[in-house]
């Protein structure tokens, strides 16, 4: 507790700035993208993605140097940790934003997105918020990081202003997510009231010192705070029964954004969840464990069962991301050091394979945002063999087939659960994975063993479902200050020719991104030991 008039015993210095160097570099890149947007003529905005990628690369290098040589201390009065867990999470977030940026050029133009400078800057800022949230060791920074990432993602979800589905996605995400933020914040307030601390390490010390019902009268306050924080976090990681927003937002948002946020938000929220529940509130493990246990079970069962009924591949992937949140919750519930290492492994594996799967969905999608149903994937292997092979690898990895990275994520999570005394969670996890196997393999089956759709008929009819965008509406009244307000007329793509469905040609960046995701999925799957070691080292630093 810092009392107002006491002198500081410690003044932050240069070392503190070095510890948040990855974040600073990303922030700088976002600002440079904004300035460069002013100087870049329309049609050459691809350069902005390149600047963003350079920023991501620089940030990743800084994170790598800190991982290898940093002292792992926290910076700015214990606000932000630069420990290995935070840096590991930074890597995964940077991977997801990097792939998101690679997928964007070409796709965004095809979807009629204008104001590309703001788009790329917001992607970087969302990643910045995620990195802050993942490395936060103070409730304040968790909240600020969460809001930075959420605000950027609200705008990005609604970014295709000419398309009603995208606007609705932004609206739903905004209302439900800020509602959840309210709960999370109230939980933080009550926890602060009960412990007198916002610093997680100080909360931990307080909790270890006073068993929480030691006559301070704050026991009930803490219980209420715990419950509210759990609700808020479960909303953010889209755990059942707080998952309702996920499929709608994931389908409505631009797919490049969906790919990025489905991974990045989870990394940030799970790191914060682990730091709050498994570190600060470890001494009341018995109190919160049953609640999160039930949420984990519901999420695994609900996510997998609802995914089975979906025919739209993007929506299926959205439910699959809910199911995956359930597996990650197992690790948080178990809460041992092994489990946290498994959580990090799972997050890294999930990043590679899920971004890849969304990347393929993005490649198959039409310019009106439709065209990623099972029917569209039928017979895809005939005319897009490389794309189908990549998709098969990602889906098999998501299903947990052994030589791929997804298997190791599940393996370590279930192993940690069994060692940590939660055999029942591991059993439920394995059983629900079998359900998962069904809907992942159904897409693979469609791609390789089904006939392509009948020539012309469905392709053309679905093309004209959505009227050519009400974008021509009140054309940008005030010279577009905020891109959100200004619906520029969409670039209506040329209608597809009257022949069998041909997916649009992929931009080189997207191919590069897909190749990178495939390489990660396969190489880390065959040789997992290196990155598993890194994750174990990283988990060790959370639980000091």
């Amino acid at each position: 507790m810092i009392v107002a008039d006491s002198a500081f015993t410690y003044t932050p210095g240069a070392a503190d700035w070095v510890r948040i160097l990855p974040e600073l570099i990303l922030l700088g890149a976002a600002l440079i993208v904004l300035l460069a947007d002013l100087a870049t003529p329309a049609g050459r905005k691809g350069w902005l993605a390149l600047i963003g990628l350079l920023g991501v690369a620089g940030s990743a290098i800084a994170a790598a140097l800190l991982f290898a040589n940093g002292d792992g201390q926290s910076a700015f009065f214990g606000m932000i940790a630069a420990d290995k867990a935070a840096l590991f999470a930074d890597f995964v977030i940077l991977l997801s934003v990097g792939l998101g940026l690679l997928f964007s050029p070409g796709y965004v133009e095809r979807q009629g997105i204008t104001q590309l400078g703001e788009y790329y800057a917001l992607m970087l800022l969302a990643a910045l918020g995620m990195m802050f949230m993942a490395s936060a060791t103070n409730l304040m920074i968790i909240f600020v990081g969460l809001e930075v990432l959420s605000l950027a993602l609200y705008i990005l979800s609604a970014y295709i202003m000419s398309r009603s589905r995208s606007r609705e996605a932004g609206m739903k995400y905004f209302i439900l997510s800020s509602f959840a933020s309210g709960f999370l914040l109230y939980g933080m307030a009550l926890t602060y009231g009960a412990t007198g601390q916002t610093n997680l390490q100080a909360v931990r010390v307080f909790m270890a010192g006073n068993a929480f019902h030691s006559g301070t009268g704050f026991g009930p306050l803490l219980i209420a705070g715990l419950a509210l924080m759990a609700v808020g976090f479960c909303f953010k990681v889209s755990a059942v029964p707080f998952q309702a927003w996920t499929p709608d937002v994931y389908v409505g948002a631009p797919t490049s954004v969906t790919a990025f946020m489905s991974v990045g938000t989870k990394v940030a929220a799970f790191l914060a969840l682990a730091r709050v529940f498994d570190v600060a509130l470890l001494s009341v493990h018995a109190t919160w464990m049953p609640v999160l246990w039930a949420v984990a079970v519901l999420t695994m069962i609900g996510g997998n069962i609802m995914a089975v009924t979906q025919r739209d591949v993007k929506r299926m992937l959205a439910y699959s991301s809910i199911a995956n949140a359930g597996y990650m919750l197992i690790a948080v519930v178990t809460g041992t050091q092994d489990a946290l290492a498994a959580l990090l492994i799972y997050l890294a594996a999930y990043a590679a394979m899920n971004l890849g799967a969304f990347g393929v969905a993005l490649a198959v999608e039409r310019s009106d945002g439709t065209g990623a149903t099972l029917d569209d994937f039928a017979g895809l292997a005939r005319h897009r063999p490389a794309l189908s092979a990549a998709m098969s690898i990602f889906l098999l990895s998501l299903a947990g087939v052994p030589p791929l990275v997804g298997f190791w994520g599940k393996f370590y999570v279930f192993q940690a659960a069994i060692i940590g005394g939660h055999l029942e969670l591991a059993i439920i996890g394995v059983l629900t994975s079998v359900i998962g196997m069904f809907y992942y393999l159904r897409v693979v089956w469609a791609m390789y063993f089904q006939e392509p759709r009948a020539v012309g008929i469905p392709a053309v009819s679905t093309l004209s479902v959505e009227p050519p965008a009400p974008a021509a509406a009140p054309a940008s009244a005030s010279g577009g200050g905020a891109a959100v307000l200004v619906a520029e007329p969409a670039v209506v793509a040329a209608p597809a020719p009257q022949e069998a469905y041909q997916p649009p040609v992929l931009a080189p960046g997207a191919w590069l991104g897909l190749a990178f995701a495939v390489a990660l999925t396969v190489v880390l799957g065959i040789l997992p030991s290196g990155f598993v070691d890194l994750a174990i080292q990283a988990a060790h630093t959370i639980l000091r």
Partner: protein
Amino acid sequence: MPVPVSAYLTVSAILFTIGTLGVIVRRNPLVMFMSIELMLNAVNLSFMAFAHFLNSVDGWMFIFLVLTVAAAEVVVGLAIIVSIFRSRHSINVDELNTLKG
């Protein structure tokens, strides 16, 4: 007579619950949005009470952050609501039904 901290907390809890019910019951995004702001400010009241009671600065700092964030949410939320309104001339959430499944 000094007002006990529990009184502040009770008022804060009542305001928070009103905000929550507002989000759940109302169907107009603008009103839902005002309810969310009410929730955030109810939390601010709690922070204020705790900070005063515990003689700790952290609560005050938190209030600054929440205020800033709430302002940013106002801006983003209004922008999205206005853009929907401009295209549909109605912002009833029950009419937002393009996404189903």
